[in-house]
């Protein structure tokens, strides 16, 4: 591999940048792996990366139906934050943010983490009360959060219209929140995993599991059968379809979540802004595009597109808060298939089938969770013991009635 450094950049520039080694090489599947991970999104790649680098399991493959990062990991709006309400979520998501804070250096790959702050708005007295309760809970969980007055918000975000149809009465910021480059996360982790000996096999779809005596022993794929000590599944919107191959039914609904960008403009917005009430969030990318999104399209869907109704809703909400953006043209719109769980919290850990592990239920907000999702799943697979940070996020919690209802607690995910 080529180390990425200023020195190497200058050196390779002299050779016309022709001799960079590929970030990872195409692998053909071997007959057996200690661990096979299904899904080459952030969570699958991070699991493989941490298995190989932190937990000493080197004989690992990642099977990806399409291409690395072609799923939701390459389609999201890049928001990272850890300002969750429940202690279980706060501990998990802050672990993730802390890992992100040092991951660029560790991976020798610039993830372009930009901790520009994450600002949530409140538009009514009731929301102000709930928001203060949230800020208190978040602070008690040891996470940075601070209430802002409308004047402070205006100072921070000069383009905002405080007297919108739903006037802005206040807000709170998580200063450590912000955005990170989504493709870089996929590519950096793939490169890191590959360098640690992981086989990354693209264009390889899982088609079935080999299960005997309640234990998974291997997988069937479009590139043939592979035997495996353990199998980890991280396929986001396709979780129900993959689980069905193992005769498991999940509490997951797949829906289209859209995002869109405007034409690029000079820097005008240097923080991430979200309004749970009008269900819209916005930030400006390093390329200058205004990136916006909102809620998922309201019905089950595996189509990576999404409909006009949501586009209109998102744009109308944006223009209410930022009237000046009405002059901008939308350049692109796209969607990913998100895996929504009943309590909008992830499902992580063991399944009723031995040696088969699952990572799903991220819905609209699993990008920020990639480092922690990978770390805790890798630990769980390597030790065959559930990582303490994800104990509460097991599949069985629905049976116990122990839901972690973040959507009810904080309004929206992302």
């Amino acid at each position: 591999m080529s180390h990425y450094s200023f020195f190497n950049l200058a050196k390779k520039a002299l050779g016309g940048h022709k001799n960079w080694a590929p970030a990872w090489r195409r692998a053909t599947p071997q007959k057996h792996y200690d661990v096979v991970i299904i899904g080459g999104g952030g969570h699958g790649l991070a699991t493989a990366y941490y298995l190989a680098t932190k937990y000493g399991v080197g004989n690992v493959a990642v099977l990806e139906k399409g291409w690395v990062g072609g799923g939701n990991t390459g389609r999201n709006t890049q928001v990272v934050r850890s300002n969750y309400f429940y202690p279980e979520s706060a501990a998990f998501y802050d672990h993730s943010l802390k890992l992100y804070e040092s991951l660029s250096r560790e991976l020798n790959f610039n993830l372009m983490l930009s901790q520009r702050g994450h600002l949530s708005l409140a538009h009514s007295e009731h929301e102000m009360e709930i928001m203060r309760r949230n800020v208190n809970a978040i602070s008690l969980n040891g996470i940075d959060a601070r209430e802002l007055s409308p004047a402070e918000i205006k100072k921070r975000v000069p383009l905002i219209n405080l007297n919108a149809r739903y006037p802005v009465l206040g807000g709170f910021v998580q200063p450590r929140g912000g955005i990170a480059r989504h493709d870089a996360v996929a590519w950096g982790l793939a490169r890191g995993a590959y360098n640690a000996g992981v086989d990354i096999i693209e264009n390889c779809a899982l088609t079935g599991f080999d299960i005997s005596g309640g234990r998974v022993t291997g997988v069937q794929t479009s590139k043939g059968a592979i035997s495996a000590g353990s199998v980890g599944v991280a396929v986001a919107g396709h979780s129900s379809e993959v689980a069905r191959m193992a005769d498991l039914k999940l509490p997951i609904t797949s829906m289209s979540l859209q995002a869109m960008v405007t034409e690029p403009i000079k820097p005008v917005l240097d923080t991430a802004v979200i309004s749970p009430t009008i269900h819209m969030y916005v930030s400006q990318s390093d390329r200058g595009e205004i990136v916006l999104g909102g809620g998922a399209d309201v019905y089950n869907s595996y189509a990576q597109r999404g409909g006009m109704r949501t586009i209109e809703d998102n744009v109308a909400a944006l223009l209410e808060l930022f009237p000046r953006f009405s002059r901008l043209k939308l350049m692109r719109q796209w969607a990913g298939v998100v895996d929504i769980s009943p309590d909008t919290s992830p499902i992580l850990g063991k399944t009723p089938i031995d040696n088969l592990y699952i990572n799903c239920g991220w819905g609209t907000g699993g990008f920020k969770a990639i480092p922690a999702g990978g770390d805790t799943m890798a630990y769980t697979i390597a030790h065959k013991t559930v990582h303490p940070l994800i104990n509460a996020f097991d599949l069985q919690r629905f049976e116990r009635g122990a839901l972690i209802d973040e959507s009810a607690a904080s309004g929206v995910a992302h």
Partner: protein, 98 residues
């Protein structure tokens, strides 16, 4: 944008409807006498197919009736709109996906 043909009002825009999730889920008659497992299965487990999905919609900004819709979750094509209480119309899933 979907166009759903309400049996009472005719073809209408998706924006007039609200989505009610998977249909044909039967509430256990005596919840207190079933296991936590069965109750949670009833409450939370969903088919969530890539293909034909049998789902409920309410014509919320129209006649306010609930209806059943058989719709493909990949192409979004609507195969059938049928009354609540009727059995699932059967489609060959493979054929539907073509």
């Amino acid at each position: 944008m979907l166009q759903i043909t309400c049996p009472w009002c005719g073809p209408r825009n998706e924006t007039e409807f609200s989505f009610g999730g998977e249909s044909h889920i039967i509430r256990p008659v005596r919840p207190e006498s079933i296991s936590d497992r069965d109750w949670s299965d009833y409450q939370f487990l969903r088919e969530n197919p890539k293909g034909t999905h049998y789902e409920r919609w309410q014509h919320r900004f129209g006649c306010r009736q609930w209806i059943n819709v058989a719709r493909d979750t990949l192409s979004h094509e609507i195969y059938s709109v049928y009354p609540m209480g009727d059995p699932k119309p059967v489609f060959d899933r493979k054929e539907a996906l073509l």
